[in-house]
């Protein structure tokens, strides 16, 4: 399955994942309470500049990742036109876009295995309450493997529906889909046990 990591290698890819995550946490703490439009614009400018240092194609992909937010921006626009304080709305929208763009930047420049390594390190103390890093790693791998499997199964169920009905597939397909997940879980558990268990 595809991740959201950008295939375009940039200098930010080489910065350790832990450093990027810490930087993001710090920057988000600074950005979220901002109310002064001037400072928000400065932050937005810095994030835009950061994107541009990654190259034009990378920056374009980054901009496209913000596109799904347009309904939220539309609601904000209508709201602030009605209440009459358009500048406040611009500030809020820009602040939100800046925080999201910065977080997306970390996601786009950090490979999944690097992040999982950080997680495993961070989860080590949890071993004392019974969650071994290995169990967590197996669970993550299972989700990554079985999401496309279940997606395929959902597609087959919907095809079978269309073969029998002129109407579009309805909620009823969720029943066999959920059963599939339950049954597969039993079988995978058996397979894991047969290989020595967790």
């Amino acid at each position: 399955m595809l991740t959201l990591t950008s295939p375009i290698e940039t200098w930010l890819h080489r910065v350790p994942a832990g450093v990027k995550l810490a930087g993001l946490a710090l920057a988000t703490l600074v950005i979220v309470p901002m109310t002064n439009l001037y400072w928000i614009a400065v932050a937005a400018g810095l994030v835009t500049a950061l994107y541009l240092t990654q190259g034009a194609a990378f920056a374009r992909t980054g901009a496209r990742r913000l596109w799904p937010l347009w309904p939220v921006l539309a609601v904000l626009a209508v709201w602030h036109v009605v209440t009459g304080d358009l500048m406040a709305g611009v500030g809020i929208a820009l602040r939100m876009l800046t925080a999201i763009a910065l977080a997306n930047l970390v996601t786009m420049t950090t490979r999944l295995d690097d992040l999982i390594a950080v997680v495993e390190r961070a989860a080590r103390p949890l071993a004392r309450i019974g969650l071994s890093p290995r169990t967590l790693a197996v669970a993550i791998a299972l989700v990554i493997r079985f999401t496309p499997v279940l997606l395929l199964r959902a597609g087959q169920l919907m095809e079978a529906w269309r073969a029998r009905s002129p109407r579009r597939p309805g909620w009823q397909v969720v029943v066999p889909l959920t059963l599939t997940a339950l049954d597969d879980a039993e079988r995978v558990a058996e397979a894991l046990r047969a290989r020595g268990g967790l």
Partner: protein, 180 residues
Amino acid sequence: MERNVTLIALFAALIAVLGLVPKIDLVSGVPITAQSLGVMLCGTVLGARRGALAVLLFVFLVALGLPLLAGGRGGLGVFAGPSVGYIIGFPFAAFVAGWVTEQWRSGVGLPAFAGAILGGIVVLYAFGIPGMALVLGKSLPEAMLLAAPFLAGDIIKAGLAGLITSGIAKVRPGVVLSRG
């Protein structure tokens, strides 16, 4: 142990699939995302603890950057967006949905419906609305107004969660773990 891990993982995948599958008509003619239906089902089918862990795993993988949210979204940016409260509230919603289904021991469909309403709507909105208020710079009542249009869809999803859970219990009694 193995069974718990695989159930949690497979249901985390199920939430993702329900968000990614494009064209299920929840109400005739109105395709809406079934992702929060998946969250409700985790609770009502797997029970409180396992359900909450399945949803937690899902949220965690979204944070790691897998495009598992409805519309293929994911990554840390989601946690800076207006739906941050809902996403953080997901595991709590599943827990409450499962807890209600576990405690209410008559039938399956009605308890699951009640659980889905309490967890998937009351608890989820209690997280989602403050999150929206924070990100969009609105007061709580204003954020409530913004959340209101989703209420009807979520009530329908809670009804479906009840129907689906009782459907599964009928086909395969004993497999609905919130009844275990």
